[in-house]
Symmetry: C2
Amino acid sequence: MKNIHIIGLGLLGGSFSLALKKVKPELKITGFDANLNHLKDAHTLGIIDEASEDIPQDTDVVILATPVDSLEKLLIKALEEVGENTLLIDFGSTKEALCKSVADHPKRAQFLAGHPIAGTEYSGPKAAKDDLLEKKVFIICEMEKTDVHLKGMAYDIFEALNMKLRFMDPEEHDRHLAFVSHLSHISSFMLGKTVLDKMADDKNIFDMAGSGFASTVRLAKSSPGMWAPIMQANKENILESLDAYIANLQVFREKIHSGDTSELSSEMNEINKIGDILDLGK
Amino acid sequence: MKNIHIIGLGLLGGSFSLALKKVKPELKITGFDANLNHLKDAHTLGIIDEASEDIPQDTDVVILATPVDSLEKLLIKALEEVGENTLLIDFGSTKEALCKSVADHPKRAQFLAGHPIAGTEYSGPKAAKDDLLEKKVFIICEMEKTDVHLKGMAYDIFEALNMKLRFMDPEEHDRHLAFVSHLSHISSFMLGKTVLDKMADDKNIFDMAGSGFASTVRLAKSSPGMWAPIMQANKENILESLDAYIANLQVFREKIHSGDTSELSSEMNEINKIGDILDLGK
């Protein structure tokens, strides 16, 4: 493995490259980004050694790290372009539609459907960090559909990056992610909106915001260009999680309204156990 | 100023004492907590020099740092007990009802209504940290109702602790805090509940939770004993903020449902500006 090509040089693509260069400095990393400012920044920041719109002939692994609405087209185009010894890996946040789109593709075995569970509320190559992926979970879907030999390169990379592999089918991935990622982003965006709307009356409201507010609203800084397509691609699961969330809020609202403090208390007590569950995962 | 007495030796009362001891080691700090394990821990951890259920005669400043449902009774009892040179300060998260309850009290001038905007999702003396209050906002309500001489001691303390003072009336405080603190806690608790409910079907769901989920659900670890009373004391403002939040979620849900990606995108773009506003406050 000598040559890597990355399409999409934002937070994930950029962080992937920086991490890989640290542990495998001998690799040559080329790449492209449709945003030419990002492409230039990625070069300046040493994320890529060389810019290239086409996938170079001798590329071993191509990484697709663009928003999910562009992945399907990019993946099919890349599959046409590459030789038989090249592996394609995507980093998209939704997996079902993408996997379906290439289910019967003659070169399906050259594709590995992946999703690194890592990110921040920032985007673009300047937000990339060489430790973003460190010890994070990397989900692989339909691993049995990828060629054994090519898959070996992916395992080498993710092991070198110290990532924890998890395997599941694309439907399960999308269903889970709606609850533990996509819903969080929506709750955070709407919390931000609710307080911004209130600010129209009360200019100094943010003066009183503490670390709790900052923590719950942090994701409202996330990139709309990344998130609107996710909400489209994973619509059904997101609607299910959102409806459950809104229903829970409405029931809790009625408990506050009726002033049943002991009922509120016992409900929050039950939910407190999420702390233990999250800490277990550390 | 020589003697401080703290009632409620949890996260806030404990952190206050540890910070004060660092900058004013000559002070003698006594205290009490109705939870006798907390009282014992506070003594062991050096949060108090001595346990005392009664407020010692020569106390200069009494801090009330208990959940809001106990503050009114405690404050009135303490006002009866203390001599005319003692200042009482409360740290409660809601201010309107408490200020009203002592509005006509003959010793009203010996009370300062305060609220340090600081906390974590943890509680109890073991969670106390000597830097929790550092550079945080301390809100004072009805400052004109507190005796000028006694108030001087409070200013000395908060200056020594490097806190930033803000002044507002109790109604404004409670209205603002509903939006920038209380709502965040409810959104976080309900997010936790929604995912815990889902976990009944999908045991491994937390494996896929990244830092975004952890951030939005962090407050769901908060103490029900502290938060149920806040939801009671600030019910009307909280219901207003919660209704606005639920309405925003419902409108956004419909936009996802109708698949209007550009509308979702432009709405999230608008909300992104919360990042600049929050960063300005740093």
